[in-house]
Assembly symmetry: C2
Homo-oligomer: 336 residues x 2
C-alpha cells in the first residue's frame, strides 16, 4: 500500500540545460518514524518554481540542493500524525516539504520550517502556494517596496503570465499604472489582457514583438518588473524613461544556459545589489553645495589631487586617447 512508503525525488546530478531523465530519481523509502517534537505531514500540492532550477545547480541565496538529497521544494501538506505540540492531525502546513509524499515537521528545525495555513473560506489550499504564497509575496514586495508604483506610470512585466508576473501586473493596475505584459503565445496574452486587465500584451514569440513593445509603451517605461533577463530585458531597458526602476526579480532566460553576459545581472539579483546609474548633470542645481564641501576638504588637507597637463590645443585629440590607454594620472588637462 502506498501509505507505507514515501516516494521521494532525489537529486542525482546537476542538470545541464533542461532537466534530463535521471537528474531527479524517484525512489521509495520507508515511511519516516516520528519522535517527540515531530509531526508527519503528507504532501497534497507541491509548488514548481523557476528558482528550483537554480537550487539544482549552484549555491546562491540558499546552498545548492545536495546531490543524493530530496529535491528542495515548497509544498502544502496535511499533518497525518503528530507528537509536536503546535501541530495536530488535519492541520494544513506550507513550507519546504521537498519533492516527496511525506515530510517530517521538527520543532528543532527553524529554517524552512513549515507553518500552519489558516482556513480562509474564499481561498483554495493551492492559493497558499501561489497568490498568497512565495510567488504572490514576491510580486507584492517587489512592487510595493522596490518599484513603488505611482499613478500614471508605465509598468512592463516580463513572464507576465507566470505566477509572479501575473500578480505583479495586477498590483500595478491597482495602483493606477499602465501595465504592459510580455508573454509567449496568444493564449497567455489574451489571459493577461482580457481577464487580468493588463492594458496591453506583447507576444515575444511574434517576430515584430519589439515594435509591439514600443507601440504599447508610447510614454516609455517607468518600471520594469523583470523576470526574464537577456534579450527581453535588454529591449525593455531601451524603452526606460530617465530615472526608471528595474525590479530584478528573476532571469529565467538564463537558468538553463551558461551566458556570461547574464552573469553580472545574476550576481546583482542573487546578492540583492542596488545598481544606480548617474550623470553629474542631474545635480546641476547643487554644484555649489558640492564644490563648497570639496573646497573645505581640500583646504584642510583631506583631499589631494593631481593633474596631467598636456600642452597645446592641437594635442587634445591625443589627450583624449590617453584616457583609454591609461596614460594619465589624475585629472587630464590641455593647457592652451
Amino acid at each position: 500500500m502506498q501509505a507505507q512508503t514515501n516516494r521521494q525525488l532525489i537529486l542525482r546530478s546537476r542538470p545541464k540545460g533542461l532537466l534530463a531523465p535521471g537528474d531527479l530519481e524517484l525512489v521509495q523509502t520507508p515511511l519516516p518514524t516520528i519522535h517527540d517534537g515531530q509531526a508527519l505531514a503528507k504532501a497534497k500540492y507541491l509548488s514548481v518554481d523557476p528558482t528550483m532550477r537554480v537550487w539544482m545547480a549552484v549555491d546562491t541565496y540558499l546552498p545548492a540542493c545536495a546531490i543524493g538529497e530530496v529535491m528542495r521544494a515548497i509544498g502544502l501538506a496535511e499533518v497525518v500524525e503528530s507528537r509536536h505540540k503546535e501541530f495536530k492531525k488535519g492541520d494544513k502546513v506550507v513550507g519546504l516539504t521537498g519533492l516527496q509524499d511525506y515530510c517530517v515537521i521538527d520543532s528543532a528545525d527553524k529554517r524552512g520550517g513549515l507553518r500552519k495555513v489558516p482556513p480562509i473560506p474564499f481561498l483554495s489550499d493551492t492559493a497558499f502556494l501561489g497568490v498568497l504564497g512565495a510567488t504572490g509575496l514576491t510580486a507584492y514586495f517587489g512592487m510595493m517596496d522596490i518599484a513603488k508604483p505611482q499613478k500614471g506610470e508605465t509598468l512592463v512585466v516580463s513572464a507576465a503570465a507566470g505566477a509572479t508576473g501575473s500578480i505583479a501586473g495586477q498590483i500595478g493596475k491597482i495602483h493606477g499604472c499602465r501595465v504592459v505584459g510580455i508573454a509567449g503565445g496568444a493564449e497567455k496574452c489574451k489571459w493577461i489582457t482580457e481577464e487580468l486587465g493588463f492594458d496591453a500584451a506583447v507576444d515575444y514569440k511574434q517576430p515584430d514583438w519589439k515594435e509591439k513593445l514600443a507601440a504599447a509603451t508610447p510614454k516609455g517605461v517607468d518600471i520594469d518588473y523583470e523576470n526574464v533577463g537577456g534579450e527581453i530585458m535588454h529591449e525593455v531597458l531601451k524603452r526606460m524613461n530617465l530615472h526608471g526602476r528595474v525590479v530584478l526579480c528573476g532571469l529565467i532566460s538564463g537558468y538553463t544556459k551558461e551566458d556570461p553576459a547574464l552573469e553580472s545581472f545574476a550576481t546583482i539579483l542573487r546578492k540583492r545589489l542596488r545598481v544606480q546609474g548617474f550623470i553629474i548633470l542631474d545635480y546641476a542645481d547643487r554644484f555649489m553645495e558640492g564644490a563648497t564641501q570639496l573646497g573645505k576638504w581640500k583646504m584642510f588637507g583631506k583631499l589631494k589631487h593631481r593633474e596631467t597637463i598636456v600642452e597645446g590645443l592641437e594635442k587634445a585629440p591625443d589627450a583624449i586617447n590617453m584616457l583609454f590607454t591609461g596614460a594619465n594620472i589624475g585629472k587630464l588637462i590641455v593647457k592652451v
Copy 2:
C-alpha cells in the same frame, strides 16, 4: 598673430575605437565678433574627460556632438572683451568652452553657459576643472547621494587614479571606509596608496589581480564606485556583500569598442536607472503583512490568479521543465 584667429578642433567623423587622425580637424577661423550681451573669452585650460568619447559617438544624456561643429569640451577661460553686463575683462569662467582658443559667452545661452570662477587663494585655476569641477563633483554626489558610505564599510573604486576615482576614494576615507583602488601600473597604485591614503591598490595589469582584489577585500565589498565596467566590474560584483551598492558612474572599458554585453549597463548609466536585485526570503518577517494585503485584494476581486496543475509526484521533473519552455500559465503546481 595667433590672437587674431581662433583655432578650433572640428569633429569631422565619429571615431571607431581610439580617435584616428582626421576625426578632429584643427582649423583656423577668424576671431568671433561680439555683440551686446556677449563676451569673448580665451581658453587657458581645457578638460579632457572620458565622456567626450561618448559625445563624439552617440546621443546619450546630451545629443552627440554634431559633425562639422567644434568638439564639445569643458574649459577654463579668461574674458578678454565684454559687452555682457555680468562679465568683465579678466574674469575667469568655466563651462562648455569647446576645444578652441576663443569662445563667446552669450546671455541668451542658458545651457552650457559659462559661470564665473571665484578667486580662492589656495586653489589653482585648474582645480575648477578637476577636484572642484565636473569630475570632483561627480565623485562627491556619487559618493554622498548614492553610495552613502558608512564607517567600516569596504569601498572599491575602479579607475582609481583617474580624476573622479581618486576623489571618490578619498571621500570614502574621509567617511571611515576601507578603500581599495583598482588602477593600471605601479606608479598609479603607489600614488593612490602612499599619497592619497587608500588602504590597498590592485594593479589590473598584473596577471594575479583577481587574487589581489580578493585579498584586499577580506570582508567583501559594500560599495563599488564603478568607472570601468566589463571584466573589472564583473570581478568586483563577485566580491560584493549582500545588499551592496553599485554607483554606476562610468564604463570606460566600453567607450572605444562595441560590446553587446556592456550595452545594458550603458543603458542603466545613461538613463540613470536604479536596478535592485531582490529575493523574497529577505522579507520573511513581513510575510503576514503581504499575505494579508494580497488576501484582501483577492477577496474584493481585485486580484485573479490561475493555476496549471500537473498530477503525480513523478511528473515533477517534467513540470520543472515546463517553466523553461513556457508551457504553463499562472502558478504551476504538482498535485501529489
